[in-house]
Amino acid sequence: MTMAIEAFGVGRRYGRRWALTDCTLSIPAGRVVGLVGPNGAGKSTLLHLAVGLLEPSAGTISVLDQGARSGPSQLERIGFLAQDSPIYARLTVAQHVRMGQLLNRTWDAAFAASRIKNLGLDPSQRAGTMSGGQRAQLALTLAVAKRPELLVLDEPVAALDPLARREFLQTLMEIVAVEGVSVVLSSHLMADVERVCDYLVVLVAGRVALTGDVDELLALHHRLTGPRRDVARMPAHQLVIEQSHVDKQTTLIVRSQEPILDPVWNVTPVTLDDLALAYMRQARDSAGPSSNGLELAR
């Protein structure tokens, strides 16, 4: 199975500060993967390492089964949209398209032209005068028109207003549906991930707190509400991820392969948001190597 991103013990240091330590993960290709985690979790660093902008200080990282820094042919296989959608403020939309054409042998000019037209962008407009949403759309067009096998998006919608965000994600989903490209998308907003992703990786402080297929994860986890109860008395196959107690009531988020049959509990499904937050909290509270034990066996 081809892996979109595979990292073994990857670390990256800026001066004396480690932005990412001992990160080992496998992100499958052919999926739309949401990479989530709190700010400062090392998401951007990991993605920069993946696209070859950074070199790891420790460990190895490969993308689509090749070293991340193995030259221009590798760069052509990856479409990267960096945070805040960097574009050249003084170049026009048409000049950006020209740039893509000049710098990528795999460039699909017809695709780029039709995308620009569909987006209603004025080719003679300078990119510096465009709205944030338009910038993001232009940057996405540049990343996709080079016909990559993998699209890497670093916080693509973080700076956009809700409407532009919805439009951007809509566009992204259309592209994924039509072009069948693998996507790795980082975000700290679960709602966005929930809308487009079918695979989830939760990164906390440079470590993987949770990884798996979205549907499987949702099927594995349950929210239990019932009378107040000591967590230590839960059955062994029901792993408590999060607990909260108020007065006479206990609410748990539990991972279990088997259905919850105990009639004491009112069992409701969890949302992806609940799940990611629960694992982030747990990883943060038990900071240290022990958090590795929380990875989901698949």
Binding site: I78, F80, Q83, A89, M99, L142, K146
Partner: protein, 354 residues
């Protein structure tokens, strides 16, 4: 990639080309007037040439000053506005993340950017110095030795411009922000230029030494001699020698017949013995400070004759015919520095830049 580098630098190159063209037109018009004036006023003059020359030289001083300023400033401006932002702006605005994830390796990207904009810098500086050297052609002949305008004519400005560009690119890559990089570039450029002029250019070729009699002009140079006091201080002997016509005098020292530099006491004793007419500290200096009061030829003739017998001058200079060799050497030096800076910029961008 070459075409993209051109696309990115097109606007700045066209602006520079436009300014250069405008300057060339103005220089052509005034330059032709100037050479016409030279032909009528100076070229065929036999008597009263001083008046004609000064009339000619005062003709277009505004243009002369402007061109001189441009010749001095242009290489620095190229370093500040083309060199420093080359990579610093990509890093500062985050566009390096766009540029270096296209299907062109970062090494190739950096090399081609350096080559294209560096070549544009050299071309611009070359055309500029061509224009300025041409415009000044006849003026330079009348006013100065070529060494006085060594760093503003002919080919040295091309070397300076290429160096300023590469130094700017390197500093921008290391500092990662445009404005501080520009400041650092200016500092580095001024340091390199001043350092070269003071300590390196005089020794690019080992200079010639010659001894001069104090009796005045000779075939190998010219001596000036006087006795007087400075700022109302003690009376002393002033002697200054110049190398041959159009040469560059580096230094001149007064030596006694044994080839040693006379001490202050020796000089005082000499003056006491042979120049009794001069007493110091004498009358207040004629006007203001820093004035050397040199006594006229008749009053001190025996004294000066005696001085010429007792002392001579050792003059160190670069002769006029080394001008072009020195031009090429200094230009080569700056081009070599530019290549080193470019290599540093390449290494830093590919190995040390995130």
């Amino acid at each position: 990639m070459i075409r993209f580098a051109w696309l990115q630098s097109r606007t700045q190159t066209l602006v520079a080309a436009f300014v250069l063209a405008a300057l060339a037109v103005v220089a052509a018009i005034t330059g032709i007037q100037l050479s016409h004036l030279y032909a009528t006023l100076v070229a065929h003059c036999h008597t009263g040439c001083d008046l004609a020359t000064s009339q000619y030289l005062s003709h277009d001083q505004v243009m002369a000053r402007a061109l001189d300023l441009i010749a001095q400033a242009a290489p620095a401006l190229i370093g500040l506005f083309w060199g420093a932002p080359l990579i610093a702006r990509e890093i500062e605005t985050g566009t390096y993340r766009l540029a270096w994830t296209q299907g062109v390796s970062r090494s190739r990207w950096v090399i081609i950017k350096l080559a294209v904009v560096g070549l544009a810098s050299a071309t611009l500086a070359g055309l500029l110095t061509l224009t300025i050297t041409w415009w000044y052609g006849s003026v330079d002949k009348l006013t100065t030795t070529p060494y006085a305008v060594f760093d503003r004519r002919d080919i040295t400005p091309v070397g300076y411009a290429v160096f300023a560009f590469a130094a700017g690119a390197l500093l921008g890559t290391v500092i990662r922000r445009v404005l501080p990089a520009m400041a650092a570039t200016l500092g580095a450029y001024v340091t390199a230029r001043v350092g070269t002029a003071l300590w390196i250019r005089p020794h690019l070729l080992s200079p010639i030494q010659t001894t001069l009699s104090l009796r005045g002009a000779g075939p190998t140079g010219q001596a000036h001699l006087g006795v007087g006091s400075q700022n109302g201080g003690a009376v002393t002997l002033f002697a200054q020698g110049d190398g041959p016509h159009n040469s560059w005098t580096l230094s001149s020292h007064l030596l006694d017949s044994a080839g040693r530099q006379p001490t202050t006491r020796q000089l005082a004793a000499f003056l006491h013995d042979y120049c009794p007419n001069f007493r110091g500290p004498g009358a207040p200096p004629p006007s203001g400070q820093g004035v050397v009061q040199v006594v006229g030829p008749d009053a001190g003739r025996p004294c000066l004759d005696q001085a010429a017998k007792a002392f001579h001058l050792l003059v160190t200079y670069q002769p006029a015919d080394r001008y072009w060799t020195l031009q090429w050497l200094e230009t080569g030096l700056f081009v070599a520095l530019a290549l080193v800076a470019s290599a540093g910029c390449y290494w830093w961008a590919t190995h040390r830049t995130s």
